[in-house]
Symmetry: C2
Subunit: 220 residues, 2 copies
Amino acid sequence: MMITDEAQKSPRVQRKRERARQRILDAAERLMRQRGVDAVTIQDITDAADVGHGTFYTHFKTKLDVLVPICEATAKAHTRRMDRLTAEMEDAAEVVSISTRHLLHAIEKDPLWTWFLCNSKLPMDDMRRGIGGSGARDILRGIEMGRFAPLAVPVGEPFLLGAMIGVIQECFTQIHEDDTVEETTRMVLRTLGITDDEAQEIAHRPLPPLPALELNDAPA
Amino acid sequence: MMITDEAQKSPRVQRKRERARQRILDAAERLMRQRGVDAVTIQDITDAADVGHGTFYTHFKTKLDVLVPICEATAKAHTRRMDRLTAEMEDAAEVVSISTRHLLHAIEKDPLWTWFLCNSKLPMDDMRRGIGGSGARDILRGIEMGRFAPLAVPVGEPFLLGAMIGVIQECFTQIHEDDTVEETTRMVLRTLGITDDEAQEIAHRPLPPLPALELNDAPA
DNA sequence: CACCATTTTTGACTGTAGTCAATTTTGATG
DNA sequence: CATCAAAATTGACTACAGTCAAAAATGGTG
């Protein structure tokens, strides 16, 4: 079977199907966090989710594909907390700095998230979903305000996304300097057209703590 | 068998082994360029190279691994030509700009090279080998000369490498704006601490043509 | 040359991803 | 409730990556 267009299908079938999908997602996340992604087979997942082997493929194309919604939920929850923290801030450079630093710290603390961003051979669009979406918005606002240098979005977005992933891949999978996150942030700000002196200063300001989780931060 | 330490082993055995390795490399490159990487199996390669299936694994760890030396040779040949072009140039920013632009154009024209940089789940070190090594040198020189802002190498290298790969992955695998290469170069220069106005100007100067291939540019 | 220790090659074997035709479930209709 | 067409589920099947014990090749030594 194909992965069906989840649009208007029928009332109950759809909900039952949705429950099975969720069981697969839960089983996959649990097993992958327990044993590591590579040690988990599709069979393991479908056994744990109590569905047939083939059913997996009616919901997801590949084993990696199942990580997209998992990491997307993680990213969304993180983004909501970040948005609460930066909502009142005026300076786009400060918003980008704080977002970048918290994002990198959060990714570093979550091995599954790190694994996804390092190993995924998925299309860029899935990567984007897996790293959270408010970065682009904050950057665009900064450009409109004249705080950042102009930037061709179709190039700038993959440039910065790729840069972050490069650092995560190289630095977060081995021992690394303590200031990796701040140095990365400094380079992001420079990429946006901030002078090095200012980028350096902004990236090293005290980092306000991430707001506590709220109920609706939970995965969708 | 393990992949043996290619160091001093014995005289003739080693040369014979080397010839087999080369046959595998040649067959792999030919088949992959013909049919695309995914459509080529290890069996195809070993059949074409006239060695046993298991022999492949005494030389290379995986199918992707075989692309490292292939792309490394391509990258090295390109780098030698670039070095000839930029040898006499004074301004580090101009060298980086011209190198970046020619490198991206060369990658875009070579589907196998592009594929490798987009799809490889290989360690960063192999990626570095596959994209050529003079970029880091030119950047360091520019920092020493005070032309570029300072940069933490363990962060800066994966940042810029990842950024390039991000652009290649997103832009070079679909239709894209004509100025993708120049916009990328502009962002690279900004990342190095050049102001946007200057980066913009440098990235859009007329691009001197790549020198012709010379004999010793050929793959090692 | 005959023998042997070491290195290299080899293809049968194993485990897993992904496919697909057959089966089951669903809910709409008479 | 019985029937049916459409949708969803399923696990047997195929093809490939990667392993490894056995076989072959090598070259040193008496």
